[in-house]
């Protein structure tokens, strides 16, 4: 029976991957905040921040699965297979493990909805993506209450720092989010109206589809207000363009 595995390394792996998962999800949430608040475009591209957010989230999910699997497989603590998905079914530390299960269920919703992002409505995906904040909050509580390393020393520091970083990111996200009507990217170099095309096709002669700008009054006034220089920005992609 698989429950007979008594190697102490499962328990060590559980503790270590729990800590790593917490740090990784702190990174993921922070990077997601950077994407949502339109950071990037000068030194690093915005799409690069987005790609980091997506990639690190996959790594974090892998670590989370290892964390959960080693906990269940290890016979040192009597959790059960059912407590992976259903909260409050663990015999060991019922409430703290249950909180972790809640966090995992929420993350599962966020993860599956992101995998199905092209198939579901974007509004649904965004709504489900808000769950990640609740998931992180419950994960912090789970880390503090059930973690054997998080009561003192370095473990406590890690938990406090992670909670602080995400709390700051949350404040920034909710208070400082760019409003749609205010010209949210007007202060970034991306908004310069230089010709984006590097090909020899004459985009200035072709008709263009404009979104958003049609409701604005005067292009010239906005140009004066933004006031940044129109220096040509190097392309974000290293690949050679025709």
């Amino acid at each position: 029976m698989i429950g007979a595995l008594t190697s102490p390394y499962f328990w060590y792996t559980t503790r270590a991957t729990g800590m790593v998962t917490l740090i990784l999800f702190t990174l993921v949430v922070s990077l997601g905040t950077l994407v949502a608040n339109r950071i990037g475009g000068t030194i690093v591209g915005r799409f690069e921040v987005n790609e980091l957010h997506r990639s690190i989230s996959i790594i974090a999910m892998v670590f989370l699965v290892i964390h959960i699997m080693t906990t269940v497989v290890d016979s040192f603590v009597p959790t059960g297979w059912i407590s992976i998905f259903i909260p409050m079914t663990s015999a060991y530390r019922r409430i703290p493990i249950g909180i972790g299960t809640v966090a995992f269920d929420l993350l599962l919703a966020v993860w599956i909805s992101s995998l199905l992002k092209v198939r579901i409505a974007n509004r649904s995906w965004r709504f489900i993506h808000w769950f990640s904040w609740i998931a992180f909050a419950t994960a912090i509580v789970h880390a503090y209450t059930s973690g054997t390393d998080t009561r003192k020393g370095l473990g406590l520091i890690v938990v406090v720092v992670c909670a602080g970083v995400v709390a700051g990111a949350g404040m920034w996200r909710f208070l400082g989010r760019p409003s749609r009507a205010a010209g949210r990217t007007a202060l970034t170099p991306l908004a310069s109206s230089r010709q984006a095309t590097t090909s020899n096709r004459a985009t200035d002669k072709s008709a263009s589809v404009t979104t958003g700008a049609l409701t604005r009054a005067s292009t010239a006034n906005a140009q004066d207000r933004t006031g940044f220089t129109r220096a040509p920005r190097p392309s974000s992609k290293n690949r050679e363009r025709r």
């Binding site: 908004a191 072709s206 263009s208 958003g212 700008a213 974000s236």
Partner: protein
Amino acid sequence: MGMRRRVGGFVLRVNPILCDGFGHCHELAPELVNIDEWGYPIIEVTPTPLADVSILESARYAVRGCPRQALRIERVTEQS
């Protein structure tokens, strides 16, 4: 793939209701997408030949990278 399916062209289309002006498409497909002062895309409307694989690849990156799923690639099959 093969040569037969390279006939024709494509245009990148944006859903202006979904678009929130993140600007990722301009970074990922600068050949096709310009950006206005408010960060919204101005997309090339002249069809690009499908044989132009580097631009097609950029367009696919832009579709994949859009945080609002507002972009799609539309094939234009009209023959000249």
